[in-house]
Symmetry: C3
């Protein structure tokens, strides 16, 4: 099996941040020269997720609103301790949305539907983050 | 690496529709002659998901009821704009349930537990949909 | 493609049980002699999930609390029938958290972030369970 691994680093100025990484993943697929297979896009933080959706600004706000209601970013609500405070909301969001996505590669291209884009979602940003 | 890709099309008369695609995926695995590996079943719509669960009619209704409470199908609640109206609920459901599932293949068979079946869930149907 | 499959069995004395299986998965990766690729960790029950998160006791309680609110373990709330009673909550939790996770393998090691661990979550335990 041919395989190729690359690590990506992002800076996230906001605590909640959604980054469209489709072009970066396609570049890596092109560099790998893999024609048929898949790209495993896997976050390396326990407070972030990788998912596939539409790149539309209203939808990103809907996603944030939805998570803010379901898992409010209020440290007092969580038992999880992380240094001085709790970021339990970000960890539970990461479990819920999953740390990884797999995208098929066909003829050297990410085989996405017409509206599908790959997103890195950071739920406890304001620090360097890493994806693979 | 041996790989084989096939695209499936479904017609979904209902807006919310769950389709058991296990047999179709097994047929494709058989056709591929792959003995050891996995099947990546990936939806190509941003309003649909692929997941593994039990094929039981009560459970399908539970799943719909759960999503209807969590993400009500009411366009006014969402900022996402899609043509004339909003289908934000369907997009968020797709993110939540994920667009893809991976199923191990052992000795040419989908290596599922005794109750596991593969489902395509369309959350904004009434049009042609595609899976891979 | 080189591949290697192993089945794991767990006993779960509690109905809701989270098991850190990272070491077991790493052992299997080592045994497989696979250097570059990935590990597909797939639950074979329709009432369980595999996910990646932090191994912290407060977070595990947050996760249980979150699921208990979102999908209360009350058979009367679900239409799903399973033998004498309903375990619809466990099935919906399994769909939501997904039955499988994929972890990259680089140079023979699970390529996890510093806090990432692999968990098997059983939502209807008190019986033998199996993972692959």
């Amino acid at each position: 099996m041919k395989s190729y691994t690359e690590y990506l680093w992002f800076n996230t100025p906001e605590r909640f941040q959604i980054i469209n990484i489709t072009d970066k993943v396609q570049e890596i697929v092109t560099k790998s020269k893999i024609k048929e297979g898949f790209a495993l896009v896997s976050a390396m933080h326990t407070s972030s997720s990788v998912y596939v959706s539409d790149d539309e600004s209203g939808l990103k706000r809907d996603f944030q609103d939805f998570l803010d209601v379901l898992l409010p970013p209020d440290p007092k609500r969580y038992k999880h301790q992380h240094g001085a405070d709790s970021n339990g909301d970000a960890h539970l969001r990461s479990i819920l949305i999953h740390h990884e996505s797999i995208v098929p590669v066909t003829n050297g291209k990410l085989d996405l539907g017409p509206w599908q884009q790959i997103f890195y979602g950071e739920f406890d940003g304001r620090r360097k983050i890493i994806g693979e």
